[in-house]
Symmetry: C2
Subunit: 335 residues, 2 copies
Amino acid sequence: MTASGSDSPTSPTARLVARMLDGDRLALARVITRVENRTPEVPAIMRAVHARAGRAYVLGVTGPPGAGKSTLVDRLTTRLRATGHPVGIVAVDPSSPFSGGAVLGDRIRMQTHTLDPGVFIRSMATRGSLGGLARATGDVIRLLDAFGFDWIIIETVGVGQTELDIIRQADTTVVALVPESGDSIQAMKAGLMEVADVFVVNKADRPGAHALMAELRFSVHLHYTSRASSKDVDWEVPVLSAEAAQDVGIDALLDAVMRHRSVLEQAGALGTRRQARRRAELEALLVEEFSAQVMARVRTDHELGRTLQAVIDGSLDPYTAVAQILARTLRTEPT
Amino acid sequence: MTASGSDSPTSPTARLVARMLDGDRLALARVITRVENRTPEVPAIMRAVHARAGRAYVLGVTGPPGAGKSTLVDRLTTRLRATGHPVGIVAVDPSSPFSGGAVLGDRIRMQTHTLDPGVFIRSMATRGSLGGLARATGDVIRLLDAFGFDWIIIETVGVGQTELDIIRQADTTVVALVPESGDSIQAMKAGLMEVADVFVVNKADRPGAHALMAELRFSVHLHYTSRASSKDVDWEVPVLSAEAAQDVGIDALLDAVMRHRSVLEQAGALGTRRQARRRAELEALLVEEFSAQVMARVRTDHELGRTLQAVIDGSLDPYTAVAQILARTLRTEPT
């Protein structure tokens, strides 16, 4: 967090960032790797690109495994490219020994766009550290934004808190389901309802699609009528159908995304939501850095070390310890 | 967080806590309500009960909705009661307009034990605030511990990050699945593997039970052989079957729990894990309180307020802002 050599305009990192901002895709990929690995240069990198970011529109696509998210993203990307927009894609895959195959398969399917210089695709995995993944994803979105992608698509599996934290960084979120997800979505329904701006039932030629759509429409309507007064925009989440593999339903899906964007912009809600997101991001980063600094201090400050040890061995309750630690580390308020 | 009147031994809260520690169940219930509502008395309450806690063994039971967790808990409770142990049960239910019915049903099923003074059952819901729920659950566990329950069972739905945070407070965790959960558990498999000390396939008379057990045994064995060297105890997670509604398989399940407890205790791992948990709890509480104090200070300190506003309106990057805020709020390290 302290100023490092990479702040200097002639440092290797500063030169790499400058090349990235000049449009060098290889430099972009290398900067992303540093941000993903949470190297000490991250603050300097993010400071350097900040002024160039803030123009992209961020589309989130989430849903359970097997919902065909990658194919949907692929088809949406084709549509956006047809209108000339450069598209950056961040696919966030929970790292698990069980999902490795699927991840590879997904990326192979996206090969449609590998020769198109207007498309940039990046996969990110948890690598065992869930905590930093949402922040790393946010930083990568900002890098793609600063690089000049008008549209950024985040694709993630919509299950846990981390995935919700990731998808909340989108301006518009599409939740993809398939008829087979019927039962399994019950558990995550509250979370999906909270993040969905558009529902799409993919593989809609399969049995159960109509029932799932009817169920979703009912839930959406309940949610809409119960929350309408507290929402910043008047938007009842549409429930669409698609067969992405056959390119069916994609125009209507993109149209719904565009309508949602337009509603957000006209209501002034896009700016308000981005402000709230920046505030939440600052708070998360602040406590993370505070925690790192206090824990570093515990190693050299014997009194803090004793307090920590007393909590660890169970002789001191954590509430008393927190009061002691804050009294020792926080400045008294300036008068 | 500051010392309040409730620290005084004659305050109403102190008297309530004293009655609780004397064995008054009504006082216990009222203290739990205060802790659950995160009232300002929480630090004083937790300080007052601290010395009395630390003796209970905490059993976690988690799994997807419909896995029969409540019935399993009910049957396990009967067995533990037969050996004379008082049992405290905390059922944590994600708050959702869709699960209200199920929660009520679960609690009604537990009526077997309502007339038994050696059993105390408490349901906790998110009430929309996920952040504080894991901490509140931890505090309630400590209250039950201080009250004198030898066994405390936490029951929760194993889906998101919050539920994992809750279940990590258990010494031994049973993950319950049913044949129908086959597909839906794929997404949460990594998380379940991480927390499970014992798997039980409930409703094992249904089709698919054998296949699910074989699949779990394969996954468990993979996990065991790949992680064995990094584990603090030599324990390959058993995969059991049960039909809780028919009281089948419960003895073997409790036996597995007892064997896991014994392995933890003999390896000295129980103490080590509890220490790690206390440390993690301190860190979480510390950043939460720090965040609250800094955000309160932002309202009165104009320079901090300007920094925050610059981040919100997008003119300042959050990394620079965090460095500024910490420089203004943290004491320089004592030399």
